[in-house]
Symmetry: C2
Amino acid sequence: MNNYRLVVSYDGTRYKGWQRLSDEDMTIQGKIEDVLSKFLGTEMKIVGSSRTDAGVHAHRQIANFTTEEDKTVDEVAHYLNTYLPEDIRIKKVDKVDENFHARFNAVEKEYVYKIYNTRVMDPFQRKYAMHIIKELEVDSMRYAADEFLGEHDFTSFTNAKSKKKSMVREIKSIDIKENGPLIEIKIIGNGFLHNMVRKIVGTLIEVGQGKKLPVDVPKIFEAKDSKMAGVTAQAQGLFLNKIKF
Amino acid sequence: MNNYRLVVSYDGTRYKGWQRLSDEDMTIQGKIEDVLSKFLGTEMKIVGSSRTDAGVHAHRQIANFTTEEDKTVDEVAHYLNTYLPEDIRIKKVDKVDENFHARFNAVEKEYVYKIYNTRVMDPFQRKYAMHIIKELEVDSMRYAADEFLGEHDFTSFTNAKSKKKSMVREIKSIDIKENGPLIEIKIIGNGFLHNMVRKIVGTLIEVGQGKKLPVDVPKIFEAKDSKMAGVTAQAQGLFLNKIKF
């Protein structure tokens, strides 16, 4: 059995997210599986590290698939990049250990959220950042970001319905970088619940707008109620950056 | 008479260029004139500094228009940004001297051409850079770039048909910056003939590919024949960056 790992980069604008839904829905997993199935002559399934939502982008999503066929990594990369649309690119293909699993073996994920904080939006950022007109207080956002570090129960920062699974996750770092009007929030953690990055960012934005204070964050954790958190920040500003195994 | 100067930023992907052609064609000038005409209740014309081609982008194109109406700069900016599509943004509006003319008063223009030099294209660069797979010899390109500096007859570097007007232009600087796979060629000059930047870049690319040598550039100038120059580089990599008056 051969196990192939793919590094996938995509502009999520046109897609309903990573995860295959019906055959008609535009999804990144669906597109790759369709091309791969033609290549290998049998219905293929791939596993992605992260189920990015509709409109979310990725620089280095990781996926893997297994097959009895013995293709070179160049053959796999070339076929996929020839038949996939231009907004999905396979940056790298490697043969990996038979036991490698893109989802179960991921131990750390890095996301970046981009905000364009200026009166008039830059047309080149319109699909790749959230536009906020009023100047954000970035230092307050940094204080609030520190409140997220470490292990917490993130029930208040997810739209996930299931109460069965653990809501505890560990945030390893949140860095907020300013470059002119562009604010980049880099979040590294051991795993993320559904919408968790976007609800953390939404909360940080409300702190930057003065609607919430950094000291409100511990109270939101305690409440275990997603209505207490900030809004879910727009999908278009979110990029899956990299994944560690 | 009021004279308004606009700083215009646009993603040129969807457009047939700056200059208004017929009423049906998608042009940036046409879009702005249509919205401005509705705003002021009469058919308006605007003048742009540079007639960028189909698919070419602009960070800071400059335009101006005159009117008897006395609107505040905020009113003009707000109306235009409300009714223009998101890929055209008015970054700034100023009232300027009655004699200011965006085309005739321009004394220096800066363009940037972006090349993404790597095996697999980045999906986020697909509309904003030219993809070249084979590694370019950037140092050779820099030697060739030096051959363009100063005043020359650019007949070999334009597709312009007219032989009436002067083909002499002055290139003030060409800087080539590398940032990972991204190569940015910044060209500053007192003015540019039709397709001149893209033919200079096309020639530099052929030098980078070893198809031409830096010493070929003076021979191309002498030949006064556009077939001697390199190909016209793709529109999507070109950005009008700024204009001096």
